[in-house]
Symmetry: C2
DNA sequence: GTGAAAGCGCTAACAG
DNA sequence: CTGTTAGCGCTTTCAC
C-alpha cells in the first residue's frame, strides 16, 4: 500500500516533471509524442493507478453516483441498479448502492455523503426525502428521483404511470368477464399505493361496475399481508372471482391462501400482480402481472443525472415510462357459478 | 458545493486554529472543555461535514469496504451484504457493492479500486480471482473470501460446508424412504457445484444405494436449466422419485417441469433445493431446502476483514459456518408403485 | 510542449 | 492544551 507508485515515480523513470505525467495520463492532449508513449508505457509497467482521493480532492469531484433504495433485499431494485450502472460506467462514473431501510436518519446520511464529496450525484428510490433535509433546502441540481415518486420537490423524476398500469391490470380482468374484482392495496400513505388504488377504482367505474368497499383490502406489500387480505376476501359472503394485488409478493400470498382454502387459481380465482419480479414467471401458476421497465428506469435516471452534472439543462421535470401487462397462467375467465 | 464550510471556517468563527478544530471533531480527546463545545456547536450550526477526499488523502484510508458479488441480480447475496453492512457501519465504515457479472476484467477493476484508495478492503463473493491478479500476486491482507470458495489462495475464507449440507439434504430424502434419488448439479467447473455433488454421492454410498449415472443431470443454476434436467430425468425408463437440486432456482424449474408432466410434487416426486432464497417458502409447494446463514456469513466476513485492517492476526485461514435443512412441502415419502 | 509552484481540505508531528 | 508547519498525491495555472 505505502509503496504504491505515484506520479512522481513515473516522472522520475521517464525523466520528465510530474506535471507532464499528469497531463499525459489525463489525456489532455498537450504532450508531445515521444514523451507521451514513454509515459504511458512506464505507467503500465509500474502498474500505476492514480490515487482517487488526491485526484478528487484536487478536482472537487468523486466521479461516483449514489443510488439509494428503500430495501436492498428487494430484488426489484437491482434491475434499476443494473441499468443505471451501465450508463454510469460508460461515462466513467462508478455507482455506489445505499440502503436506507426506510429510515430517515439513514437517508439523511446519504444526503451527507453528497455533501462531503463521497458522491457527485444521487438517485433516490426511497419514495421520500427526510423532513430535515426538506426543510434545510437541499441542493437540487444533483439529485434524481426514480420509480418511487416524491411529492412536493422540484427534482427530475423518472417514473412509471402507476395509475394507468393498474387500470390496464384491472381491465384485463374485466375483459375476461370478471365483475367481482377485489383489490389488495399497498401501504396506504404511500403515493404509489394510492395511485394503484386509483387505477383500480377508475377501471371499475369506467366499466360501470359498482365498487364494493369490502373488496378493497388493505395490504402492506408483504407475502403475509397478501395472505391475510386474501383470507378476509375469500370469507366474504360474496367472495371476489378475481383479485388485483398492488404487488407481486402479495399476489403470491393471495395464491397461497387460495390454495389453502382449496380454491384453484385461476379457475376459481384469478390473480393479477404488479412488478413482475424475479420468479413471477416461475411461480405455479405463473403470475399475470405488470412488468415495469426497471432497466430503462435505471438508464434514464442515470443519463438525466449525468446531464445535470454536466451543467446541461434538463428538459422535463418528470418523465413517465410505459409498463406492459404480462399475461400468464394466474388469470382466466370466471366460472359461471357466482 | 463550493461554499461548503471547511475546517478553517469553523476555526475562524470560534477563534482557534484549524488544528484544534480537527482535533475536537475527530474526538482525539485533546481539546479542553470550553473550546470543545464551542467548536462542536459551530460545526453543527454551519452544517459542517469533513471533506472525505481530503481526509482520506491525509490518513491514507477510505473507511470503506468493497463487496464484490458475481451477480447483483441474485437476491441471495443481498442478505450477505446486509450482514456485512451492519458490522461495517458499527465500525464507522461504509460499504460499496460491486457487480462483477463473472467478468474477470470487471473483477480486476475492483482490485484496482483497492489499489487506488477507493476502498480499504474487499470481500469477494465471486468464486474466483482473475488470473492476472493471481499472477501478479495481490496483497492478501485486505481481502476476505465469503461463501464462494476460491482455491489456491491463502486468504481467510468464510464458507459453509457445501458437501455436508448436500449430504443432509439427500439423507432427508433417504430417510423418507427414497432410493431413486437424482441430482441436478450446478455448473461443473465450479467448486461449489462439485462439493454439492460430492455430498450427494457420499450420502448415497453411505446408505448403500448404488449410484446411477443417468441420475446425475448437469445443470447451470438457472430455472431453465432445472426444467431441462427435469425433463430428461422424468423421461428416463426408471424416473427418480426424488431430486436434489444444487440450488433453489433449479428446484423451481424442476417443480414446474414436473407440473407440466402432470406429476404431483411431492406425492409423485420429491424435490429438495439449496439456498433458501426469497420466496422459497412461498412457492407452491413450498420448498424443502438448505438454509444458508447468509447474514452470519456477511457479519463474520466483515468482522474478520476489519480485524485484518486493524493489523490483528486472524486466527483461522478458513471458517465454516453451519447450515440447516428446512423441511417444507416439496418432500414426502415415495408412493409405493415403482 | 514542458517545468515550477501553488493548493485542494485535512491531519499529524513538533513545539511551546 | 493549543498553534505552527508540513505534506498526503494530484491537477492546473503561470511562466518559459
Amino acid at each position: 500500500m505505502s509503496n504504491r507508485p505515484k506520479i512522481k515515480d513515473i516522472a522520475a523513470t521517464v525523466g520528465v516533471s510530474s506535471a507532464t505525467v499528469s497531463r499525459a495520463l489525463t489525456g489532455s492532449g498537450l504532450v508531445a509524442e515521444p514523451t507521451l508513449s514513454k509515459i504511458r508505457e512506464a505507467a503500465i509497467r509500474l502498474r500505476y493507478r492514480p490515487n482517487v482521493n488526491a485526484r478528487n480532492l484536487r478536482t472537487q469531484k468523486s466521479m461516483s453516483i449514489l443510488i439509494v433504495v428503500r430495501d436492498i433485499g428487494n430484488p426489484f431494485y437491482l434491475e434499476v441498479f443494473k441499468g443505471a450502472e451501465h450508463m454510469a460506467r460508460a461515462a466513467g462514473y462508478s455507482v455506489l448502492m445505499g440502503n436506507s431501510e426506510g429510515d430517515p436518519d439513514r437517508e439523511t446520511e446519504y444526503f451527507d455523503m453528497l455533501r462531503d464529496g463521497h458522491a457527485d450525484g444521487m438517485i433516490l428510490l426511497t419514495g421520500q426525502v427526510p423532513q430535515q433535509i426538506r426543510e434545510s433546502g437541499f441542493s437540487d441540481d444533483n439529485v434524481v428521483v426514480a420509480l418511487e415518486m416524491i411529492e412536493e420537490v422540484r427534482i427530475p423524476q423518472i417514473l412509471i404511470d402507476n395509475k394507468s398500469a393498474a387500470k390496464t391490470a384491472v381491465n384485463h380482468l374485466i375483459s375476461l368477464g370478471h365483475k367481482n374484482i377485489a383489490h389488495v392495496t399497498g401501504p396506504i400513505p404511500e403515493k404509489m399505493s394510492a395511485l394503484r388504488l386509483d387505477g383500480y377504482l377508475q377501471a371499475m367505474s369506467d366499466a360501470g361496475i359498482p365498487i364494493c368497499q369490502d373488496y378493497i383490502a388493505p395490504g402492506d406489500f408483504t407475502l403475509r399481508g397478501g395472505e391475510e387480505a386474501a383470507r378476509k376476501l375469500i370469507e366474504l359472503p360474496t367472495p371476489p372471482s378475481a383479485i388485483f394485488a398492488a404487488n407481486d409478493e402479495m399476489a403470491f400470498g393471495i395464491i397461497r391462501e387460495a390454495h389453502r382454502k382449496k380454491l384453484n387459481v385461476p379457475s376459481d380465482l384469478s390473480v393479477v400482480g404488479f412488478d413482475d419480479i424475479f420468479l413471477s414467471g416461475a411461480f405455479l401458476p405463473s403470475l399475470t402481472t405488470i412488468c415495469q421497465p426497471c432497466l430503462e428506469v435505471g438508464q434514464r435516471s442515470m443519463t438525466t443525472l449525468l446531464r445535470m452534472l454536466d451543467g446541461l439543462e434538463v428538459s422535463n421535470e418528470t418523465t413517465t415510462l410505459s409498463t406492459n401487462l404480462v399475461v400468464r397462467e394466474s388469470t382466466a375467465p370466471p366460472t359461471k357459478q357466482i
